[in-house]
Subunit: 205 residues, 2 copies
């Protein structure tokens, strides 16, 4: 009878403030998402706890997880592996809880392949917002600056393709509010609600 | 450059409380929707103002509007016509404003044909909510009562088919909050945002 949870994936260009927005979301008093803990092959730092900050694995263990398809997504960064264990995500979704992932754009592509039904949110940088403001200030900036910004904007727009929603990170609280609204709305989509009701009717027969 | 507005259609079984929810939405201090005024062939009542409460038309004028396809939807009720003039809706959407329609299920079907991109919200009655609660109270009610409720629930679920979202009208404020969230989310859909950005890039070339 339980409705499956939503897999919520927050991503966007590096430097856009994904981590800050994620922290603000989990600082909300009535947060309804489970945060997915990453696995890593790097050594724990002072105070980091296995199963809280990360699942700490040896390089060999991590490579076994990759080989056994036990990761939703993974990447290597400064000589260490980082990735999302698929087991926790699946288990939590089955329990009817929403899981929140905050990952790099490369990782989001891998998740899309495995969870096409996930809710993919692109956190858009101010460079895109500036694209809209620029029309107002036209003529006050150098051609090169404008060209560079246009190029960055074009690359960011191409990245969006994979996502369901785009949230501008103009202010952290504002971005959080909009992410909350997206999750509320997604739970009210007719397909989900209808499926739940039909299941109830079947069970009542 | 202006983004087109959303056509928001609130409908649901008669007696579900569509009018109450619509009034509560328009009583919000920061409401961002335009309410579409209906046309009718009935005579104005004491205090009703043309262009505020209704557009008052003669029967002949109304039938001309039907013949000329000037109505988004219409129905006859107790010998009088009621309908939504398409011109106001189109003009307001073009100005980038969201238009809110609260109409009967029959009308919603007609609107879907003309505005497939509209945002269709089904206001679900407590009978469906009860479907979920019933499992708990099973055995405490007569078979006939249960059968009748099941039949009503089944009919209501069939009606949902046309809609994008389902909102349970358990409490008016709660229904309003969820409708607000749906509209916020819909504006953040990647297709809409991406299109706007691409247009801006084109204009900047």
């Amino acid at each position: 009878m339980e409705e499956k949870g939503l897999l919520i994936v927050l991503s966007g260009p590096s430097g856009v403030g994904k981590g800050t927005v994620r922290k603000a979301i989990f600082d909300q008093p009535d947060v309804n998402f489970e945060y997915s803990i990453s696995a890593t092959s790097r050594k724990p730092r002072e105070g980091e706890v296995h199963g809280v900050d990360y699942f700490f694995k040896s390089r060999e263990q991590f490579e076994d997880m990759i080989a056994n398809d036990e990761l939703l997504e993974h990447a290597e960064y400064v000589g260490n592996y980082y990735g999302t264990p698929i087991e926790y995500v699946k288990k939590t979704l089955e329990e009817g809880k929403d899981v929140f992932l905050e990952i790099e754009v490369q990782g989001a592509k891998q998740v899309r392949d495995k969870f096409p039904d996930g809710l993919f949110i692109f956190l858009a940088p101010p460079s895109l917002k500036e694209l809209e403001n620029r029309i107002v200030t036209r003529g006050t900036e150098t051609d090169e600056l404008i060209r560079n910004r246009m190029k960055a904007a074009r690359e960011e727009i191409e990245m969006m393709n994979l996502y369901d929603y785009v949230v501008e990170n103009d202010r952290v609280e504002h971005a959080c509010e909009r992410i909350n609204a997206i999750v509320v709305a997604e739970h009210l989509r007719r397909e989900r609600v209808e499926k739940r009701y039909r299941k109830l009717l079947e069970e009542e027969k």
